[in-house]
């Protein structure tokens, strides 16, 4: 064939769709395997964790992020670099407490739910995108940061926005905060 196959825009979309569709098939399969929503959520989080621990290396190799000096910098990088790189979206970041350890990522658009109109019947507690929480948690742990990551709001459950809450659990090591003089 003479046309440049690699550059056709439809194929770029297929590549993006592949992940989203596969994720949908996975959630459907887990719903078949587990009756309780909490179990599905737990499994999605666990799988996400496994992915996150390996994804972080891929991320660091592709991006040129410099060492961070604060949780807020880290959260910014997650939102503006990582989410952009892998999902093509840039959630906005808000800080939820004065000690600057609790943050929220507000997702206006969520590619993972592109083909999902509503949660399946009888699955009102399903955190459809729970994989994302696990990924963030796993990735952070690989860079020695413990964090709780959960969905605080979910559009699929009727909330206005989809909000992921990140709570950093340990203070960053003092040495890492030393600035260059």
């Amino acid at each position: 064939m003479s046309r440049p196959v690699l550059r056709r825009p439809e194929y770029h979309k297929i590549n993006k769709d592949l992940f989203v569709l596969t994720y949908g098939a996975l959630v459907a399969q887990l719903c078949k395997d587990y009756e309780k929503d909490e179990d599905v959520n737990k499994y999605l989080d666990k799988m996400g964790y496994g992915i996150g621990t390996r994804l972080v290396e891929d991320f660091l190799a592709r991006s040129c992020v410099r060492r961070c000096h604060s949780y807020s910098e880290i959260t910014d990088i997650i939102a503006q670099v990582a989410f952009k790189m892998y999902l093509g979206i840039t959630p906005s970041v808000t800080c939820n407490n004065s000690s600057r350890t609790e943050f929220s990522l507000i997702l206006d658009k969520n590619p993972l739910v592109e083909f999902v109109e509503e949660l399946p019947a009888g699955r009102s507690s399903l955190c459809y995108c729970n994989l994302l929480c696990g990924i963030i948690r796993g990735a952070l742990e690989m860079v020695h940061l413990a964090a709780d990551v959960t969905f605080l709001q979910d559009r699929l459950k009727g909330d206005r926005v989809t909000e992921i809450g990140i709570t950093f659990l340990k203070k960053l090591d003092e040495k890492k905060c030393r600035r260059r003089k």
Binding site: M1, R8, E10, I14, N15, L18, A25, K46, I51, F115
Partner: protein, 159 residues
């Protein structure tokens, strides 16, 4: 491309997770897990097939469909073309990929040969699903002689 990486990571995790969950001590357990992955691949393949550009749906011959899978679909999904396509012109096709991306991360050669089928089940389903959307019923199996080279065998089912 970063998107591709995300799919690959998800696929690897799925293989690990579904395997652990469905595994039985007996040989029946292995079959069940492969068919679960294949079934998921099938559904995704069907959905992808529905998203293909319109002109691809106007194939004249079966061979054109297979060529399309080897070139366009493979590039869209794996960023490379299939390396070879052979057929007996009687409904059986062998598609060979010399460096299949989902096997690349594993060691090359004969190590992990036993594990390889788990990493191919989803893709077999994907091929079968896409063919199904294009109006072709098939049976797709895969074999690995030496990583990361693998062959997908497509047998068209005449109705």
């Amino acid at each position: 491309m970063a998107d591709a990486a995300l799919f690959e990571f998800l696929h690897t995790e799925m293989v690990a997770e579904l395997w652990a969950h469905h595994s039985d001590p007996g040989p029946g357990g292995q079959k069940m897990s492969l068919s679960v992955l294949e079934g998921m691949g099938f559904r995704v393949g069907q959905a992808l097939g529905e998203r293909l550009p319109q002109e691809t749906l106007a194939f004249r011959e079966e061979l054109d469909v297979l060529k399309f899978l080897c070139k366009d679909l493979w590039v869209a999904v794996f960023q490379k073309q299939m390396d070879s396509l052979r057929t007996n012109h009687q409904g059986t096709y062998v598609l060979q990929d010399n460096s299949f991306p989902l096997l690349i991360r594993m060691a090359s050669g004969l190590q992990y040969l036993e594990e390889a089928p788990k990493f191919l089940a989803f893709t077999c389903g994907l091929l079968r699903g896409t063919l199904s959307t294009l109006g072709i019923k098939s049976l797709v199996t895969a074999s690995v002689a030496s990583l990361p080279t693998c062959k997908f065998q497509v047998v068209i089912q005449k109705t």
